[in-house]
Amino acid sequence: MNAIEMTNLTKFYGKARGILNVNLMVEEGECFGFIGPNGAGKSTAIRTLLGLIRPTSGQARIFGRDIRREKTRILSETGYLPSETAFYPGMKVGDILKLSADLRKKDCAAEARRLCQRLNLDVNRRADELSLGNKKKAAIVCAFQHCPRLLILDEPTSGLDPLMQREFFTIIKEQNQAGATVFLSSHVLSEIQQNCARAAVIREGRIIACDRVEALAQSQTKRVSLRGSVSLDGLPGVRSRTEIDGALHFLYDGDMNRLLQTLAAGNVADLSVTEPDLEEIFFHYYEKGGEEK
């Protein structure tokens, strides 16, 4: 069964573009990455899924249920971690966790205690006195304490220190192994690369690539590094060209024979051709606009 299914999902804010004809499927049990720069439409897609905003057109389903007609049922099985967290002033962390559990009509005290211990979160602190990182931890516990079937995480690590980030991803892995579907939106590409099996790239409201993370990384594009004197002028497919300490680095997605001919015509002292990382692939998509899949 698909955990998430978006069909031509479109959202305009007045005349401003939110997302355009987004088609995406996330299978139940997957850890799925959603990559894009700020303003690409990641949060719009997520907020539409959660019913916070109404789609202009198109449809979306979560666990086969329509997001508009069966919103309450969907939300009871979903944990959402927003990119920016705000809580009610004057409330203690413990009160907020209790409020969240009560709104779900569940007793989550044991799981909340366990998560607070792991994240080193003091439940007696007032929410309006919390640092950004501690606010994020409180939001994580709110999103996870009812052991949801689907976790929707929007830029989840902002504000968390590296140790907490590691603990957080360990918790995600455990939840995922226990059967939860994870939809991880981030512009930190290493997070996606290390934690997700599949990912989609969104740019200017459109999905421009969706594949297994390894497949996205193993595109035609190669990272070439060389020492020597080579003229790359007139060679199509060369991008992101830089020279560092006498070494020439560039991304190449053109014809491999032409590259070899060009290199052979020059004087190459050292050469390496490697797979680019996801970050480089992503910027390639971003800069060129990519091709819709």
Binding site: Y13, R47, L50, G51, L52, I53, R54, K71, T72, R73, I74, L75, S76, T78, Y80, P82, E84, T85, A86, F87, Y88, P89, G90, L99, S100, D102, L103, R104, K105, A139, C142
Partner: protein
Amino acid sequence: MTLLKHEFKQGFKSLAVWTAAIGAFLAVCVFMYPEMENEMQDMSHMFSSMGAFTAAFGMDRLNFGELTGFYAIECGNILGLGGAFFSSLLAAGILSKEEKGQTAEFLLAHPIGRKKLLAEKLAAVFLQIAGLHLLAFALAAASIALIGQEIPVKEIGLLHLANFLAQLELACICFGVSAFLRRSGLGVGLGIAAVLYFLNILSNITEQAKFLKYLTPFAYAEGADILADGRLDGEKILLGMGLSAVGVGAAFWKYCRKDIQ
């Protein structure tokens, strides 16, 4: 009921402050009555000869020499205006504060439908207004008993009931407006209460503005009319209920469609 309880807890301090302030002012005025009682006949005469100002506040139809007449003016000013500001501020902010404080995303990511959210928030507004009025009535009655006067239960009860109903109407109108706001409802709430209050004053001053009585809930909370008739104006209250329904209906219509920011 979770949200209702949450709202009540969130609003408790504000409710306590407003109730204490209104209750204390009511009590102080009642305690002043025995000293002023003898001078009231002269004052009544003086007030009744102040032209438009007298009419504006209904003082031409009230006898200051009697506790009920004195209380009607006092009640209209303190409970009427104070309670109206409290009710308007509370209702105008009850929905908009979630977006202003960026807590709407937290709240609406929980499995609570928007209709249920609206119903519980409206119930929280009503309960807080009812709480204020119950305590204000109890304090007023206790103060009257303390100065050794017999409590005019019917008159005082009708005055308080009328103000309670008027403030529920104000709250419903402001609740409707709140659904359209994304920022603080403070200015809007105060503005609506003040405008409707002055519409009633205007309708008291000039005959041409009498029709305004049908637009403002302050009209059926007018102490002079209530004491003179010995009952509430059912027609105006019914009209007020209609306006309340429009306010609540607008809130449900808008908020169930609203994109939450």
